[in-house]
Assembly symmetry: C2
Homo-oligomer: 348 residues x 2
């Protein structure tokens, strides 16, 4: 990529932190958000790390994000709890919530914590991996306030890309780690196709008559993403159903108004040792992952992978060489720094 | 359908029960299995009701199913438990497990029960709807021992169609009820296309070189179903990831050997009143469902539906007129009756 520079994770962290400080964010919450964002960049999920900073600036400027929130557990009953994010950026209340879910899983075998009154929490998979790092199974869901996904038989976008992230701890392998939007593709992929002048694959996005469009320019005017599965005949109603399930568990269960400014998140932690105290879960998961990777590939040059493999490869590479920042993103970050009155650290 | 007869649910129940009795099934377990199977037929899911009886006969004859199992809770810790099905047909231990999960949700806010050492449990959605009928959110998953689904980049089938069923109780509406295989389509749809002499849609099944095939005959020789999403570019890796997640939560968490004879099931119940004691959950779910159904359709003749709508319509119709039994299925049931030495009840 022409104009792309490689920036060490430490520099990215310092850059985001100086901006958050200038925005008046509570220091301990800034720490958490920076940690989540940089980890996301290291894992290769460029859409949800520092790439979100210009968007976060717009939201802060519009008063949509509370820089000094009072994040609290407002309800707790047995193995479940509800956390009020008080309008915070989503990362700090989500880390609080998943920590609480893990603690509950340790004592009750399972723990569920829902966050309401929140905002964008970055990559869903960060939180499920928090659980896996503690040898606990993790599930992380969020609704997305922006209507992007068209319900089966519908004309217009109604639901967000409502992702599902699931991680499970193995013994020898890195955790199984699935992190997926319930739409056929993320909106970012339409932008990539538009910039490259490429047609969209049939099955990504609809036009305003409910037919698939291959024109990225048109598709981006008023996005109508297909749910996972695409058309009805290929199972699009299943992706639509999953997106609605995520909406119910995050927004409806959390008491978050439909298509308002705020969103909700759902975190689940399950201690496999509660059912298999011999540690057999991790060993059997190794067996499953090893057998999947050893399955005969259709093309010998492209082995079968297991969810998480691409992100672990990116993490290893980027920890070594740094995180690629495109010239466009560098320019946007520079503008954010200028507006915040803090030094831009990716120059020269 | 030529040769299709309509049989009242009561007659179907009596027919299955006489067969189960002849097979020596414990009476109270026979009651449960019959209830689940007939409810499934009433909801229009023909593949998982009495249509399974010929297959169950083969399994009973092969000694794969224990007719008089000792179904027990073998481990219990806080809000979770493990049930040993002792080789039972899946329905009885699954009803036991979901009841226990619901009871735990009442006291702990959430309950999770895993079943191991089990067999086919019918339609996944029966158990999630058990929860919804008790005003509790329900999740029901099962792995499937038969390899049918090809992992992304793989050549051969490895995973089962591993379904996800999720139900949530509304206040005015029938429960939201999603019940979906994590494959693009069920195997049964390939059979329907074959019998009708129709080509398969591109995206359902692969040939042995990893390309999609439209030839139902070839596709059925050694089934290689696409995961939900189909090709990699349309998100097939997400369906593959979901199928693996279900495998992990049912088989790996339950300690069920990979691709052995037995399978596992996973049941989760969440009491929404634990987080929203004002009953706001049901009211807000009504709002979501009502707004989805009122969303502008692409084709005015085909309104937007919500997961569960087709099954509720089938239930109303079939309760009134009876359950359609094709001539082929009637013949198969007659053969089952003859082998069991019991009267065939669908004749003349």
């Amino acid at each position: 990529m022409s104009g792309t520079i490689l920036i060490p994770a430490e520099t990215i962290a310092r850059q985001i932190r100086t901006v958050f400080d200038a925005w008046g964010m509570t220091p301990e919450y800034a720490d958490v958000a920076v940690e989540v964002m940089v980890d996301t960049d290291l894992r290769g999920i460029d859409s949800h790390g520092i790439g979100m900073l210009p968007t976060y600036q717009r939201w802060f400027d519009a008063g949509l994000i509370n820089p000094r929130p009072d994040i609290r557990v407002v309800r707790e009953a047995g193995a479940v709890a509800l956390v009020d994010a008080d309008g915070s950026l989503g990362h700090p209340p989500s880390v609080t919530a998943m920590r609480l879910a893990i603690a509950k899983a340790r004592t009750s075998g399972i723990g569920m914590v829902v966050v309401n009154n929140s905002n964008h929490y970055g990559a869903a998979g960060y939180y499920s991996l928090m659980a896996a790092a503690e040898k606990v199974i993790g599930l992380s869901l969020t609704n997305v306030a922006i209507p992007l996904v068209v319900p089966t038989f519908g004309r217009d976008a109604f639901l967000g890309t409502n992702p599902i992230a699931f991680a499970a701890p193995a013994r020898k392998n890195q955790p199984f780690s699935l992190d997926m939007a319930t739409s056929a593709v993320a909106l970012g992929k339409l932008n990539v196709a538009r910039r490259a002048g490429r047609p969209l694959p049939v099955g990504w996005a609809f036009d305003d008559r409910g037919d698939f469009t291959t024109d990225a320019q048109t598709a981006l005017v008023s996005p109508r993403l297909a749910p996972l599965g695409g058309s009805r005949v290929l199972g699009g109603h299943k992706g639509y159903g999953l997106a609605t399930m995520v909406e119910i568990l995050c927004a409806t269960l959390g008491g978050v108004p439909l298509q308002g400014d705020r969103i909700g998140h759902f975190f689940l932690a399950i201690d496999p040792a509660a059912l298999r105290p011999d540690g057999g879960f991790g060993a059997d998961l190794d067996g499953l992952m090893d057998r999947l990777r050893a399955a005969p590939p259709a093309d010998p040059a492209q082995p079968v992978q297991v969810a998480g493999d691409p992100e672990y490869a990116a993490f290893a590479e980027r920890t070594r060489v740094g995180i690629p920042i495109t010239a466009i993103l560098a320019g946007e970050v520079e503008a954010v720094c200028r507006a915040a009155g803090v030094p831009f650290l990716f120059g020269g």
